[in-house]
């Protein structure tokens, strides 16, 4: 392709420049950097023309130009040079590193900055980290990459969207997810499964108040900015093609292997008196299988594939990036998979020297299915209760039963999935465009519009051939449309006074509108699998429709000042108005102040050779949270129906005083770079959330059980640490380990109704003033070895004192009663320590990467054990082998009490340490050497690699998956691991 382009150029040149032919000559030379190493790919262009070449792998070039013309040598990260063609035919050039340009340009609120000019704490992760990961959700690769950003994926469904938090849980009632922006415009967390990871240039996380305050009310929980690739100016076009294929398995099988086998289970049933020996033997005579049911509820080796093609490049004025991608992954449960097609076109251009414009458009078309049988269903979540002596394989056919599995008396999961199909497909579009004017130097006016919209169609059916409802099927069709449009207009003016005082003044206005509508049609009574449309069902015809919307309008401004790029200060102010709050409380104002001291630039540190960089920052500011329902402030009358006529009733009492949740946060941080190898960042922060939006409990006699009010306050404080060390570095090799983690403590500082504590009913979680959010449960005191009783510690008698844990071995009882025995277990609800570490290494063409993510101090109530370790509550259903350790005679020290006492209650035994360490990534790859590639003439790069995701998990948690982001884990669809192989080619 390059040859053809060259050919055309040359031909063109020959045709046009014939007259000057006599004076044209061939100039050759070598371009090297300051260390003497050759620079390949440097643009060598005759100024003002399209006559250009690039240096080869050895830095050599040759170009035909007229004597007297100017040749421009340019390369990203280096200072451009121009040389006039004189009498000599050789021009060698040494390019110097452009310090400012080489440092990353970082995306911040409504703009970009050089990294050296950013005042607050901002973390940037390159898009390379996200590429080639066998997961539909791009944030999976971010787990453990940014200190303070905690990401948990609570399900192994391929379309699972992770939960994200920055620096702890910001609110006890409203949402805690950071604001997510795609190319500057707000999107929802679902975007993570709809983007092509290869389209992403980088993800930036804004952590500190001085950076987030410009986003005002939505930024109390931090800001995550996704920037898509845009190509580079003056870059030769390059085309990338990547293919990856592999398969998935359950990430951690320990739990699934812990159920009893036929021998253990049948003997246990007889020993505990559930069934007589004769009856048991009678059953075993007919059913003598030894089934491990998880192997029939979950697949093994489910395939996953990705294909990507992209092209990017740029001229002096325009740059572009276009791409297409395909992703597919089958889930391990039945009726579970995810397919996605992506298309993107990003274009930025300078129309003239004072006007530029850009347009990014991304399309995603996805189809997905989800296994619906969740926590409490014996069709998957509790399917392991199935007795091991029954089998889903029909002995006559050797295949699975197509219908009910005899003995277990439930439908075979494959049959169930086939007869109850579900298909959802979504067409999503994310265009964003802007026009920017620079009428005078330093003044930038920008007007931008962004859209996040999708249409989704879902089809649910129950086939008439389904034995559960023979010849009486059902069909449901749903349509949903979501639209979020943002219009923002900003103006920024930068100027310098006396060359050392640099000032930027920035102001803007933004308006956002979101609406969604959803309707569906349903009918039943279809009799034939081939005639399954809505009109073919004569019964139970129904239509349902719902609509909802919110809007937000804001004004904001920022003043930035720096003295000689050494001392920085900025001040931000923003006012937001939201439709979610009562008329009297619609608007709120937020502010922030930040300062930065680039200490290394001081004279007294200039000579300290081992210190490459030292930056100290501090900032304080406010932001708000409005992440509640759209209409909570109104007293509303809802509708129902009687005898076909509409009826009214009081649906919600409303709260006209409802207003913003406000947060004040302060932080200080230090960044050091030592001996050109060590890069360390440490930040300490303190967030106080006040006027928290909490669903305050009301007595049922009022007619309602809770009302959303602004009450109470919560504090989160802790520190973020990130460290990267170039342990080994040489010409051919590099080894760089890194670690990033956050330690966070939360503390409830005030509650509602003057309370000192509040136990949220039926969750085990409690808010205690002055303490972190904790678990309150009866505390198990062990099995009495003398009589096999199960025992619990009596809490302090005064109900106000149950916040103080009491475990007195002389004060125990064998009567279980949640209300009477619950007390502070001292166990925290939220894990304090989260982070990741890893290693990047390369040697010649080989590269090796591994990344681990961990969470320490995570505690989860294992609700699965209530079903699987409770034989007298669920007699006849399989249990785990742990129940074999039950009390039989005086003197026994066992896990479980006597057979006639309930083995498991909802008490502290179920609160397990779910801390975990996962090897998120292990990649080994090889970049083919350029000597090999040059032989092809057109390939610029090629690499092959093997990569694994979630290959290893270390945890003490006894349930299926410790990563569930909740207080309770039940019937979780477990996270998966992948082994894949891939090839990337560059042209």
């Amino acid at each position: 392709m390059k040859k053809t382009l060259h050919g055309l150029l040359t031909l063109f040149m020959v045709l046009v420049v014939q007259l000057a032919f006599a004076q044209e000559k061939l100039i050759t030379g070598t371009v090297i950097d300051e260390e003497g190493l050759p620079l390949p790919g440097v643009n060598v262009i005759e100024k003002g023309t399209s006559n250009g070449v690039q240096t080869d792998f050895d830095g050599n070039y040759s170009i035909r130009v007229e004597e007297g013309s100017v040749i421009v040598f340019s390369y990203v990260g280096f200072t451009k040079q121009e040389k006039t063609v004189g009498s000599s035919n050789t021009i060698n050039v040494t390019l110097a590193v452009d310090a400012a340009a080489l440092d990353e340009v970082v995306v911040v609120g409504y703009g970009t900055r050089d990294k050296t000019d950013v005042v607050g704490s901002v973390a940037q992760v390159s898009g390379e980290v996200l590429q080639d990961r066998p997961a539909a959700n791009i944030m999976d690769a971010m787990q453990g990459q940014v200190a303070g950003l905690q990401i948990f994926t609570s399900s192994g469904e391929p379309n699972a969207v992770p939960s994200i938090r920055l620096r702890g849980v910001g609110s006890l009632g409203a949402g805690s997810t950071p604001l997510i922006l795609l190319d500057g415009f707000q999107v929802s967390a679902e975007i993570f499964t709809r983007l092509n990871p290869n389209d992403i240039e980088d993800i930036t996380v804004l952590k500190d108040a001085s950076e987030t305050a410009i986003y005002g009310s939505r930024a109390a929980n931090g800001v995550v900015i996704i920037t898509t690739k845009g190509g580079r100016k003056e870059q030769e076009p390059s085309i990338n093609v990547g293919v990856q294929h592999g398969f998935s398995e359950i990430a951690n099988k320990d739990y699934f292997e812990s159920l009893m086998n036929t021998e253990q289970f049948s003997n246990f049933r007889v020993a505990t008196g559930q069934i007589s020996r004769e009856n048991m033997d009678a059953i075993l005579a007919e059913n003598n299988a030894d089934t491990q049911w998880y192997k029939y509820y979950y697949k093994d080796d489910a395939p996953t594939t990705q294909i990507n093609v992209s092209a990017s490049g740029g001229s002096e004025k325009t740059r572009y990036f276009i791409s297409g991608g395909y992703f597919e992954q089958e889930g391990l449960a039945y009726r579970s998979d995810f397919n996605r097609y992506n298309l993107r076109s990003n274009l930025t251009t300078e129309i003239n020297d004072w006007l530029s414009a850009g347009l990014n458009i991304g399309f995603a078309y996805s189809t997905d299915q989800e296994n619906p049988y969740g926590s409490n269903s014996t069709n998957r979540g509790l399917g392991l209760l199935a007795q091991p002596y029954y089998s889903p394989i029909n002995p006559e056919t050797g295949n699975r039963y197509e219908g009910v599995i005899p003995g277990w008396n439930r439908y075979d999961p494959v049959y169930l999935a086939e007869k109850n199909p579900f298909d959802r497909n979504r067409f999503q579009i994310n265009p964003s465009g802007y026009i920017e004017l620079n009428p005078i130097k330093g003044l930038t006016l920008r007007s931008a519009v962004g859209l996040n919209a999708f249409d989704e169609r879902t089809t649910l059916r129950r086939l008439p051939s389904y034995l559960g409802s023979l010849n009486n099927g059902s069909s449901e069709e749903r349509f949903r449309r979501d639209k979020q449009i943002t219009v923002s207009n900003t103006a920024s003016y930068s100027f310098s006074v006396a060359d050392v005082h640099n000032v930027t003044v920035f102001a803007g206005h933004e308006y956002q509108d979101y609406d969604f509508e959803d309707f569906r049609g349903l009918s039943t009574g279809q009799t034939d699998d081939r005639l399954i449309m809505l009109g073919q069902g004569p019964n139970n015809r129904d239509v349902v429709q719902s609509m909802s919307e919110w809007s937000l309008e804001s004004y904001f401004g920022r003043f930035e000042y720096n003295f000689d790029k050494k001392y920085y200060a900025n001040f931000t102010l923003r006012q937001d108005g939201s439709s979610r709050f009562g008329r009297d409380n619609r608007e709120a104002t937020f502010w922030a102040v930040g300062a930065r001291w680039t200490a290394k630039k001081e004279a007294f540190l200039a000579d300290v050779e081992w210190l490459d960089d030292l930056v100290i920052r501090a900032n304080v500011g406010t932001s708000g949270n409005s992440d509640i329902g759209n209409y909570n402030s109104y007293a509303l009358v809802g509708t129902n129906q009687y005898q076909g006529q509409t009826g009214w009733y009081l649906a919600s009492p409303g709260n006209p005083a409802l207003q913003w949740e406000s947060q004040r946060s302060a932080s200080v941080g230090v960044e050091v770079s030592l001996i050109d190898r060590v890069r360390l960042g440490v930040e300490y922060y303190d967030r106080l959330t006040e006027d928290m939006l909490i669903d305050v409990p009301y007595p049922f006699t009022s007619g309602f059980s809770e009302v959303t009010e602004n009450t109470g306050s919560l504090k989160n404080y802790g520190f973020d640490v990130s460290l990267e060390v170039d342990v080994l570095r040489g010409n051919d090799f590099k080894v760089t380990p890194y670690v990033a983690f956050n330690y966070n403590q939360n503390k409830v500082t005030e509650l509602f109704q003057g309370r000192d504590y509040w136990i949220i009913p039926n969750t085990g979680v409690s808010w205690v003033v002055g303490e972190p959010v904790s678990y309150f449960y009866p505390v198990f005191a062990g099995v009495n070895p003398e009589n096999g009783d199960a025992q619990w510690y009596l809490p302090n008698e005064n109900p106000d004192e149950i916040v103080y844990n009491r475990e007195d071995p002389n004060a125990v009882t064998n009567q279980f009663n949640t209300a009477a025995l619950q007390q502070n277990t001292g166990i925290d609800r939220y894990p304090p320590l989260n982070g990741g570490f890893g290693l990047n290494a390369d040697y010649k063409g080989f590269y090796f990467q591994t990344h681990f993510a961990f969470s320490v101090g995570k505690n989860l109530i294992n609700n699965d054990r209530y079903f699987f370790e409770n034989p007298n509550q669920f007699p006849g259903f399989n249990q785990t082998t742990r129940v074999l350790d039950y009390w039989q005679e005086p003197g026994d020290q066992t896990l479980f009490p006597r057979a006639d006492v309930q083995f498991t209650q909802f008490d502290s035994r179920l609160i397990e340490d779910a801390s975990f360490l996962r090897m998120k990534t292990l990649t080994i790859g090889y970049n083919l050497p350029s000597s090999l590639l040059d032989n092809t003439g057109f390939m610029k790069g090629a690499k092959v690699y093997l990569t694994g995701r979630n290959l290893l998990t270390w945890t003490d948690y006894l349930g299926p998956d410790p990563e569930v982001d909740s207080n309770i884990g039940l019937g979780t669809n477990p996270n998966t691991k992948q082994f894949t192989f891939g090839i990337d080619l560059q042209f």
């Binding site: 006016l445 034995l467 409802s469 059902s474 007293a635 809802g638 509708t639 919600s652 039926n762």
Partner: protein, 495 residues
């Protein structure tokens, strides 16, 4: 210069764009309206009235009916019952934070607050004609009667039995007569609650007596008012008043008793309404009621039944073979429990589901909830008579017995009392009356004589359980939420 002019144009355009996108921030939902806007015309009143009945449909049957039967002596848990309703069945471990008692309490109070909002708003509606005024009066009356119904159910379940000597000091339930979300009410006495119930019935009487009763009525009318009054006065031990109201219904001749198995089965399967004083409207798929699904557990694919609860043998033996109720209330079929098949066990078949309401090929146990039926009136009349002039009990008792295929009796004294009680147990079995009846008669119970132990959950709290009449859990505890959030709320003893 041209460039400058173009620049100016652009800047001008740009500035004008700034004002694009301003919009107001008022957003209202699409599926609800503001409360203050909902009491404007007589149509609004009619709409509130419809809402009242739709809500009433949501608090009868299902978990508003069977938990007390599960708690009582007539049912046994099968091995496949999966701990559903396990706590009420076992009594031990049945605590104040249980969803069973919380759902009932919160549902009734939620509907009471609806009625209170309606009673405040309806009178403010301007009417344009005497017909409209009469219509509005009727809506107000219906709201009063609904509130009486809810308070009656609450005080029977959550407060001590009515005892004339202590009713003015026994704690009843809190009386909310106005919508006020901030209120933290204390419990009124049992006497006060019953006084309020009777007062609401009286407030409803003038307008509702203009509405004639009819078989299978779907809204309140004069007969429904009498039926509720009879029931309330029976529990209040106002024997004369209860008998008068019940007899008025019996003698009206509007609801002749069914005397053949065909029609009787029709009543429980197809919602045949000859005997029914009030039966709420149900229609698939949008207007469905709660279901009593614990009794059958039918699996269409295997054509087998796996009920959660089976009746004890002594319950089935209460019915003679000629009793038309026996084959309607019970059935045998192939049952599968814990992998074993049983073909000769009786299941409760009172709620098999009305085929006209099925949403699939197999039953969904839906049928029109029978809120008041005339057989209960016969039994109220008989039981009330026992306490005034015992021989007057024979007429209603025998009328019912003979209609059901049994011979008349002619006994007196304790034998008559037992005959009336047994007839009530036979007729109203599994309709949610059993536990309250035992309480009213001051009786404990012993579960005994199960059908087949190998299909049932063994243990102390199951098919051999004995409960004394003084056990505090005959009365349900106030839900923990209210006890904690409302410091004026006093919990029932033993909870």
């Amino acid at each position: 210069m041209n460039t400058l002019n173009i620049k100016k144009i652009f800047i001008g355009l740009f500035l004008s764009i700034i004002f694009v996108g301003c919009d107001d921030l008022e957003r209202f939902p699409y599926d609800a309206i503001e409360q203050s806007q909902s009491f404007q015309t007589i149509n609004d009143a009619a709409t509130w009235n419809n809402g009242l009945y739709a809500n009433l449909r949501g608090v009868v049957y299902g978990e508003f009916m069977f938990p007390t039967d599960v708690q009582a002596d007539q049912l046994n848990a099968t091995l496949d019952y999966g701990n559903r309703n396990g706590n009420p069945h076992r009594w031990e471990g049945f605590l104040a934070d249980d969803y069973t008692l919380r759902n009932l309490w919160s549902a009734y109070y939620s509907l009471i607050s609806d009625v209170n909002v309606a009673l405040e708003g309806l009178p403010t509606i301007a009417t344009n004609s005497p017909e409209e005024a009469a219509e509005l009066e009727r809506y107000i009356a219906e709201a009063h009667l609904a509130r009486a119904f809810y308070y009656h159910n609450l005080v029977v379940r959550y407060a001590s039995d009515y005892d004339a000597s202590s009713a003015s000091s026994d704690l009843g339930v809190p009386l909310m007569l106005e919508f006020n979300i901030a209120e933290r009410p204390a419990r009124s006495t049992v006497a006060e609650v019953y006084a309020q119930i009777l007062s609401d019935i009286e407030a409803a009487r003038p307008a509702l007596s203009q509405v004639d009763g009819e078989q299978g009525a779907q809204r309140f009318n004069a007969d429904v008012l009498l039926a509720l009054e009879a029931r309330v006065r029976l529990y209040m031990e106002d024997w004369a008043g209860a008998k008068a109201a019940a007899d008025q219904l019996i003698n009206s001749g509007n609801y002749p008793l069914i005397d053949n198995e065909g029609d009787f089965s029709d009543m429980w399967v197809n919602d045949y309404d000859q005997e029914v004083i009030m039966q709420l409207f149900v229609e698939a798929p949008n207007e469905m009621a709660n279901t009593n699904s614990i009794y059958l557990g039918y699996n269409g694919a295997t054509d087998r039944f796996t009920p959660d609860f089976l009746p004890s043998q002594w319950v089935i033996d209460m019915y003679e073979d000629d009793d038309i109720r026996k084959d309607v209330y019970f059935t045998t079929d192939t049952i599968v429990i814990s992998g074993l098949e049983y073909t000769d066990l009786y299941m409760v078949n009172k709620y098999p589901g009305n085929p006209a309401l099925f949403t699939g090929a197999n039953t969904n146990y839906q049928h029109a909830p029978k809120v008041f039926r005339v057989a209960e009136m016969y039994l109220i009349s008989a039981e009330a008579a026992l306490n005034t002039s015992a021989s007057d009990a024979l007429a209603p008792l025998n009328a019912l017995r003979q209609a059901r295929g049994l011979a008349a009796v002619n006994v007196g004294g304790d034998a008559l009392v037992n005959a009336v009680r047994e007839e009530r147990a036979r007729e109203l079995a599994f309709e949610g009356f059993r536990l309250d009846d035992l309480r009213r008669w001051d009786l404990g119970f012993t579960r005994r004589d199960p059908q087949d132990e190998s299909a049932l959950v063994p243990g102390d709290n199951y098919y051999t359980k004995s409960v004394e009449a003084t056990n505090p859990k005959f009365i349900w505890g106030i839900p923990t939420n209210d006890v904690i959030v409302n410091s004026n709320m006093v919990q029932n003893p033993g909870w």
